[in-house]
Symmetry: C2
Subunit: 364 residues, 2 copies
């Protein structure tokens, strides 16, 4: 089937580009002796997690217990839940998961860690634990400060939990390549401080996990980091391109849309709105618009309704016609895929695969 025979909108994954992205980062990590634990929240597709593991990933990362269950159902074994889990229902599912897979959870407080330990002990399972520190993104994570040492040592010593080191998330390290250099210098000051604090307290930091997609190929420069958890790199997106961490030729996922109205002058309306592309803003570059329109120079996705993409044609090199197919690279590929039940694999313009997004909608 040629992709143009698909109904629209539909998500297309260029399999060659995806495999190249997966191989390239795997090779970089091998060269620099870094563990790669890709964040599968980007695709939520077990078959693609298996592709990443097949190319040498040490395991996978997920954000939700439900995502871990979907991955374990498909045979993925080494799973990090990089999210603070709270509440009885989640913990009993966590214990069930730990019976059939190698599970690690990230925590940033004793209030979170203690019930996990109690559940593991009661259920007779072993669960790995990592302490998360904040290096400047200001989301989760203990402060890099002597006041945190007592908490981390107490987490490490909780019964039925296996200590699996430290985690940071450098979500603030994005923007352009030159801006990233300054951010990495400041990050290294914080990481150096973290390493010194842990060593002084005798806390094992032989695993120190960090890394996102914009800084993935700079990961060898981070002090003490032994593992990275990028997600977006498997596909890339307009955010990645505008952060100068990929080119549009490295973007594997596109949204296939159709022009459904040309009745308003200067505009073309396509059948992909915020319920297809997601309304996530562009976080780098000029921060304008909702995705990159392929092969249509000067056409801008200026606005989204729920089911309509509003294309501004004021600077269009050529005018799209009613019924034309248009492919859009989304601003943020992770939230885009999360809106879809299935995606199609594309090779040489032919559909060669179809994957269910098995981890979609697992909000708990």
């Amino acid at each position: 089937v040629h992709f143009s025979d698909l109904d629209t909108p539909a998500l297309l994954i260029d399999v060659d580009i995806m495999e190249r992205n997966v191989c390239r980062l795997a090779e970089y990590c091998r060269q620099h002796s870094l563990q790669l634990r890709p964040h599968t929240k980007t695709h939520k597709i077990p078959e693609l997690a298996q592709l990443q593991v097949g190319h040498g990933a040490a395991g996978i990362t997920v954000a939700k217990v439900g995502e871990a269950e979907a991955m374990a159902d498909a045979g993925l074994h080494d799973i990090l839940i990089a999210y603070p889990l709270l509440g009885e229902k989640k913990l009993s599912r966590l214990a069930a998961l730990a019976r059939r897979a190698h599970i690690t959870v990230a925590v940033d407080s004793l209030v979170t860690a203690r019930p996990i330990s109690e559940t593991a002990r009661r259920e007779g399972v072993s669960i790995g634990v990592r302490a998360e520190f904040d290096t400047g993104f200001r989301r989760c994570g203990l402060p890099i400060d002597p006041s945190s040492i007592e908490t981390v040592a107490a987490i490490r010593d909780l019964p039925a939990l296996e200590w699996r080191g430290l985690q940071v998330y450098p979500g603030h390290i994005m923007h352009t390549a030159s801006e990233r250099n300054g951010l990495i210098d400041r990050e290294n000051e914080r990481l150096t401080r973290l390493v010194e604090l842990m060593d002084a307290a005798g806390i094992d930091r032989s695993i120190l996990s960090g890394g996102n997609t914009p800084a993935a190929y700079q990961a060898h420069r981070f002090v003490g980091v032994t593992e990275i958890r990028p997600g977006t790199y498997i596909f890339n997106d307009k955010n990645t391109v505008c952060a100068e961490a990929a080119t549009y030729a490295d973007c594997a996922l596109t949204v296939l849309t159709r022009v459904v109205s040309r009745s308003v002058s200067g505009k073309a309306i396509v059948d992909a709105g915020s319920k297809t592309l997601s309304a996530d803003l562009l976080l780098s570059g000029n921060r304008q618009g909702y995705g990159h329109v392929m092969d249509h120079e000067g056409v801008v996705v200026e606005d989204l309704s729920e089911e309509h993409g509003h294309l501004d044609l004021a600077r269009a090199a050529r005018q799209p016609r009613l019924g034309d197919l248009i492919r859009i690279i989304p601003n943020h590929v992770c939230t885009c895929i999360n809106l879809h039940d299935r995606v199609y694999g594309l090779r040489n313009e032919q559909i060669v695969n179809e994957w269910a997004v098995a981890g979609r909608g697992k909000v708990q």
Copy 2:
């Protein structure tokens, strides 16, 4: 089950508030002899569409063929697809729908209308058709101009299509109540012109459909409008409140979340991010933040990651604690529900119902 026993995040619908919203607008429409055809893209739940029809709605509106199928499967009969349908696959599904339900489609071009007519004729079904005009939102719709008359007359005369009048979408009529008054005056100049054009050309405009939620209770003021298609009014949301078209006490849907991290000073992180609330921006009021936090004066949802809501506590009247449940009224309820497979019905703090979002993810 008390709602606090649910796992988080979860969507709660206060059934009393929802029923009050449904009854109140139904009563308003009866008083003003307006047809009410609610847009079910807001909830995508057939049982709630049936509630609306049970309270006198003349039929329902959907945006996608897949939504129409989900509604027809549940016995909804009179369905308007308010979206320009293009492509063979959609049209053969449309013909199948027309065999089991009373279907109308909105079109704004002959290029869209002709294949629908051909399909209807070939398949031996009758499909209703409406012509859409643009009154200023600049999305879909023919211009209100003599140049459009030939197109509309040709659409009306296509074989196997039944003429069901005109449609507009006043998506630009929002903002505050006082700003809306000026917008309604300008809208009425355009509607007057539309009515004059149609009457001069002898085109039946005994159905003229318009209406959105912010202007729902002003619908009697619109020239020539006989039917309205609001969606959000069943629940309302922060956009509706900031547009002064509802109060928070009228908001039926809340997102139940839990504080999962308090490790970063001045912040609380809850387990609802853009994959739970949607990243839709606030379009009215101060246009800041990602939803209204209930019962926590001064707490602001300042940012969203995919699975984290970032609450700023700088002006908090009291500090939420780790593990606390927090309820958030989303900016835009339609894109929020679309991220979820199920929602819970709440009455007096008890869960009294659970609905599957049967129309979720029907992108085609």
